[in-house]
Amino acid sequence: MGTAAIQTYGLTRRFGEMTAVENVTLRVTQGQFFGFLGPNGAGKSTTIKMLTGLLEPSAGTIEILGRPFSAAALDLKREIGVVPEGMALLGRLTASEYLRFVGRMYGLDRETVTRRTEELLEFMQLANERRKMVTDFSHGMQKKLALAAAVIHGPKVLFLDEPFEGVDAVAAGMLKTMLQGMIQRGATIFLTTHVLEIVERLCSHVAIIHQGRLVANGSIEDLRAGVASSLPGTETSQRLTLEEIFLSIVGANGGEPVQELSWLT
């Protein structure tokens, strides 16, 4: 087992009476492309916020790259990159101004910031839009810019909250290539998305959170084998898709049959 890039113990977050995330213990090894899945409201974004210092855990601890992580752990923040929920862009800056701003806030020198800004804008196909204010960007362009800002300082651990939402197929392919390149160079990526095909293609390990609790954690092959063995009539040789695994684990097919909306045309 390799060194842990992310390790949580009993991570819990309560909002008043409601427990959004309960006792989540997980380990993400360095160099892993880790998919964090769950239905809407399961606690994915709350978990990622706690892991990046945007939300204080009610209980539990977090370690990033083997060191205890809290919101005040500034040296560790240099090692992580985040595409947060809502993207955190500054609408009144242009794309290049925004990237330069973020690069400098991470302490990069002027030459490095200029060079990386250029490279990222070219890579993200935003170079022709560099003088446009971010507020005038399409949603997909904003996603690409948010991802560019998350990687400008060369993070060792990257947290991505729905990075492919609204991104066109060409750009998505490009981003996947970039992320896989990062993995090959030793970075760790923690990804939440609802697009299970992407997770299946990119991620080696997956955790599933449901109603605030971790209900599955392991390699996709392990999960596949586990689900196949638990489903009556499913042969182990039958290759389940991640979608089938996910639906089986969160019990979407196990409850009452969905009532048909007969008034829908």
């Binding site: 939300l55 809502g86 500054l90 400098r104 991470y106 170079a127 008034w263």
Partner: protein, 574 residues
């Protein structure tokens, strides 16, 4: 679900053009319920309840001011009509008109602003969309103050001349409707112009030219009259000349103004007084045409919004788009980066430029009060500089007391960057402090140009007070920015849904800082040792700087303890 599936053959309500057809009525009810639910939900948090309390206090305060304005307007109208000087009512209507427009820019609405664009996904007809645009935010300060003033005028005139009640009511309804439509039309068009870079630059240029023009008037006035201040025999001749010029100018203006809505409202009353029914009907008709014109202007803008207009910039192509933009500030590091970001944001925010620039410009007008012959003005003439400088700094209230408000969702970056929050606040403070001192310098310069060189001790007092006021404001501003933040829409001029709690407290702190300055100066003037104010202010400045340093050192603890609130208020999905 049973209800949903029980009526497969239920016919949808017809989408007609009527303002009050069945579907429209159901939509109004749904919106009213949505707003009342949102209102009720706001009490779930302590800050929401506090905010409601602050709004209620603001509403009460502005209502009292509005009633005061109404009583004043009513008394003036009663006096003028009783003395058969109806023609002078035009001045009152013009004052009301200018107040109506100015207040809506300066003060935020009592109500939460609501983006009507989000309604376009529903089958809502244009008439309803237009009506909703008028209704939402109707209860703002300008409408409240304007309506109460109109009510005052109606009562005043009716008490003096009961026979004019009907005519006055008609004229005032037309006048009020015109103002309501005009304010909204102006803001709708300003939002449109400020959305595009080119038109934004043009508006900014017009603004700057207007500002310079005001200043160019100054030497002209000074050449003619200022040097005569110390020569009574020449002064009276100059004063007579100015009075003659002013009368001639007023005569010309009076002829023109009678064709404009405030003048027309007055013309309706004057012609009714003279029993000139055709003229009365004509003036009322023309006032209605103006009102329809203002409504039409608003309608054109809203029609474009209704059709799904996008105010985004067109994609830029070619070499120009590829050209790298220069760095505004040389150097690297987070403080420089933050200052550069603030500078760029300021350049692109007409709202902020307006808020900062208008008070120093207003100093020219305030300084004129000190030049008037009023006895009180003469008495405090020597303290005109600190008064004007203090006034010139009022525009910084929002910038300093809600310094994180413009971050929006980017507030998350404050907690993601590998930096203490105090570094970001320090950078903002340095930038705002530099702007603050620049504005003070400008206000001082304008005052000097208008009133002549002030005494050295007054300059020293003003500088010492600034050294106290700046860190005191920054310290209090940092605390309120973290504790009571609210999101600012930099692309919108006026009608910000600001936090009334933040506004009230910042106003209270500003008043305290100004009051402390005034008290020290009064005390020293009373004892005949005005120079004593300098060491007192310097001692206060040391305390204020220490306070500022303490606040900065505790900023991280405060920000992290309020992190959820900051993210909720600034990064929430609208």
């Amino acid at each position: 679900m049973a209800d949903l599936v029980a009526a497969p053959d239920q016919r949808p309500l017809p989408t007609g053009a009527g303002l009050f057809n069945r579907l429209a009525r159901k939509q109004y009810v749904a919106l009213a319920l949505m707003r009342s639910n949102a209102f009720a939900n706001s009490f779930r948090t302590g800050s929401g309840a506090f905010e409601f309390g602050a709004r209620a206090i603001s509403f009460f305060v502005y209502s009292v001011i509005g009633i005061g304005l109404g009583i004043g307007a009513g008394a003036a109208a009663y006096s003028l009509v009783s003395n058969h000087e109806l023609h002078l009512l035009a001045i009152e209507f013009w004052v009301l008109f200018l107040l109506w427009q100015a207040i809506s820019i300066v003060l935020a609405s009592f109500l939460e602003q609501f983006d009507l664009g989000s309604l376009l996904r529903f089958p809502i007809n244009f008439g309803s969309f237009f009506l909703l645009h008028l209704v939402f935010g109707f209860l703002d300060v300008s409408t409240l103050a304007g309506s109460l003033s109109c009510a005052g005028v109606l009562i005043g005139i009716s008490l003096a001349r009961p026979d004019l009640f009907g005519t006055t009511l008609a004229a005032l309804i037309g006048f009020a409707a015109f103002n309501i439509f005009l304010v909204r039309a102006i803001f709708a068009w300003l939002d449109r112009w400020l959305a595009k870079r080119r038109s934004r630059e043009i508006v900014s240029a017009v603004f700057l030219v207007s500002m310079l023009s005001l200043q160019l008037l100054n030497p002209v006035l000074r050449d003619e009259t200022w040097h005569e201040r110390d020569h009574p025999h020449r002064r009276s001749a100059a004063a007579q000349k100015m009075t003659g010029d002013a009368e001639s100018l007023l005569g010309k203006a009076a002829a023109w103004q009678s064709w404009l809505p405030p003048g027309l409202a007055n013309a309706v009353l004057e012609s009714a007084d003279q029993h000139d029914t055709p003229l009365e009907a004509g003036a009322l008709g023309l006032l209605c045409i103006y009102t329809l014109g203002a409504a039409g202007l608003l309608g054109i803008r809203l029609r474009a919004v209704y059709r799904g207009e996008s105010l985004g910039e067109a994609p830029s192509t070619g070499q120009d788009a590829k050209r790298e933009q220069p760095w505004l500030i040389v150097g690297h590091g987070p403080i420089v980066a933050e200052i550069e970001k603030e500078l760029i944001t300021l350049f692109r925010s007409m709202t902020q430029i307006y808020a900062i620039c208008v008070p120093p410009i207003m100093v020219v007008i305030i300084a004129s009060l000190f030049r008037s012959g009023a006895p009180f003005a003469r008495h405090v003439f020597h303290l005109a500089l600190p008064v004007c400088v203090a006034y010139g700094l009022l525009g910084f209230t929002q910038l300093i007391y809600n310094s994180l408000g413009a971050e929006g969702r980017a507030i998350q970056m404050v907690f993601l960057f590998p930096l203490p929050v105090r570094t970001i606040l320090l950078a903002k403070n340095l930038f705002h402090g530099a702007l603050y001192l620049l504005a003070a310098l400008l206000a001082g310069l304008f005052t000097t140009l208008r009133l002549g060189r002030p005494d050295p001790d007054v300059v020293a007092i003003t500088a010492a007070w600034l050294l106290f006021a700046l860190p005191a404001n920054l310290a209090a501003g940092n605390v309120l920015s973290i504790v009571m933040p609210y999101r600012i829409n930099l692309g919108r001029i006026g009608r910000q849904s600001g936090s009334q709690a933040n506004a009230l407290l910042s106003m209270l702190i500003q008043t305290t800082i100004l009051g402390a300055g005034a008290s020290v100066m009064s005390f020293c003037t009373f004892w005949g040792r005005i120079w004593l104010a300098v060491p007192i202010f310097l001692a206060m400045a040391i305390v204020a700087v220490l306070g500022w340093v303490v606040v900065l050192s505790k900023a991280d603890a405060l920000a992290y303890s309020r992190r959820d609130l900051l993210l909720e208020k600034l990064a929430r999905v609208e």
